[in-house]
């Protein structure tokens, strides 16, 4: 039955991409929400069929009478007819109220089950939304275990993690439909929630609350990997940025440290210590640029650095005037930061 309703909805949404969707739950919380959706879907389908069926029956009855040459239907003339009609209206009202009450109870029960927290899980992740990108911060047990990255949320599959969600500027909404419902992010207010991805996989998410000019380019990638891979990934992220190996990479690092880049971006192990732009320590390990605006390759990076406003108008990164050779060096260095 559940599968049939998904198939029915799937047919209606055949044009949509399947990678990201609340109809394909991959986590207990998303499953609870999808089940509630199924439940509503079937109730609404029955009600819709009943209402449309009644309307068709009424129209066809009028048409039949017309063909037979009967008197057209008039307002009820005697009190018995009137009584019958008001009974029918009363019964439909009671049924509607009952169904709404059932849906309300189901909705509240689901809401309660979503906020039912057990013991605190070991992995705590702080997610901060910005115009128009995400800071992902693994808090760790002690400050030396802290890892900061951007726009990619790595999760150990099968293990719950604790998320602390907030916003740095305006109201955003954190939404990875395959894993959980939406969480609105209010500046200077922290929303705590749990998330667990059941199987390894890549689930895309995005900002789900209009937050300004580039709201549409504010993607988030949730990457669920096995717990061993997750630990290895965390250990890799704790390392400082890769040392430059070629002459151009060295030149690139000099430029990043000396030009305006360093005032906003952080690259661990260098003099770039800014804290307002995305952390670039392991920049080249990420799949996309500017929160999903472009693939992270040399060509797109050069385009982005030359004119951020051309790729993502309104993005808060300014264009830094660089010569072609310097630009190539910076690209070379950044793409070596694995």
């Amino acid at each position: 039955m559940i599968r049939a309703s998904r198939a029915a909805l799937g047919f209606l949404l055949a044009g949509c991409s399947w990678q990201q969707g609340a109809l394909q739950p991959r986590a207990p919380k998303a499953l609870a929400i999808a089940r509630l959706g199924d439940f509503f879907f079937w109730i609404e389908l029955v009600v819709w069929c009943a209402v449309v069926g009644a309307a068709i029956w009424a129209f066809s009855r009028a048409a039949r009478r017309d063909r037979r040459g009967d008197e057209p239907l008039a307002a009820p003339s005697d009190s018995q007819q009137e009584h019958k009609l008001s009974r029918a209206v009363g019964a439909s009202t009671v049924v509607s109220l009952l169904l709404l009450a059932v849906m309300l109870v189901a909705s509240i029960a689901t809401g309660r089950s979503l906020s039912d927290f057990g013991a605190s899980p070991p992995v705590r992740i702080k997610v901060t939304a910005h115009q128009w990108w995400w800071t992902i911060e693994y808090l760790g047990r002690s400050p030396d275990e802290r890892v900061v990255t951007a726009n990619e949320l790595y999760l150990p599959a099968g293990q719950p993690v604790e998320l602390e969600l907030t916003s740095a500027d305006v109201i955003h909404s954190f939404w990875i439909p395959n894993l959980d419902g939406k969480h609105d992010l209010i500046p200077s207010h922290v929303v705590k929630t749990r998330m667990v991805a059941e199987k390894p996989g890549v689930y895309s998410g995005r900002c789900a609350e209009f937050c300004g000019y580039q709201h549409a380019h504010m993607d988030l990638l949730a990457v669920a990997v096995t717990p061993t891979q997750f630990e290895a990934w965390l250990a890799g992220q704790r390392q400082p940025g890769a040392e430059p190996r070629t002459e151009t990479q060295r030149r690139g690092r000099e430029l990043v440290e000396g030009e305006p880049c360093a005032l906003c971006h952080n690259i661990a192990g260098t003099r770039a210590l800014g804290g307002v732009g995305p952390d670039l320590t392991h920049f080249a390990s990420r799949a996309t640029l500017a929160a999903g605006s472009a693939p992270n390759d040399r060509e797109a990076l050069a385009r982005w650095l030359r004119a951020p406003a051309a790729l993502k108008p309104g993005a808060q990164m300014p264009a830094v005037p660089l010569s072609a050779a310097d630009l190539a060096a910076v690209v070379d260095y950044l793409e070596s930061l694995r």
Partner: protein, 172 residues
Amino acid sequence: MNVWRRCLVALLLAGIGACEREDRPFSDLSPLRDGERRDPSHFAQATGASHTPRNAFSVSEGQRLFDWFNCSGCHGGGGGGHIGPPLTDAAWRYGSSIEDVYRSIADGRPNGMPAFRGLIVDQQIWQLSAYVLGLSGRVPQGVNVSRPDGIGVGEPPVMRSEQTPHREQVNL
């Protein structure tokens, strides 16, 4: 009829007046083609001394940058003064035009003000300068920041009455 015509003219004037206020110069600051050199005055003309203090977007961007680049670390939240001098009063040591403020940020000043030339993009220095002028009510009221980004930093700059600048004497 006459009233309508007047209303229409007033509306058009209001529209023209608001153009510069609402302008968001995202794209004409950026694309620098291979081998292209650009005179710094291009930026100054497009988005600098004459433009920023009359543009609400630039002034509010200046407010954001004031925190981003930790100006507030020395000059205090909202520029009220801390270990650096306050920026909200009428006393100016190094001149009170937007060009003077630009020079203070770009080249630094004695007793601790660092030079940010080359570290902050030119356009952003102009935005910061416009915000700093606004702190003492010296940009048009319709342009000034009406809502502070942070919590509890006092009244917004738009509430401040315009200060008449006077030169502050300092013993160095």
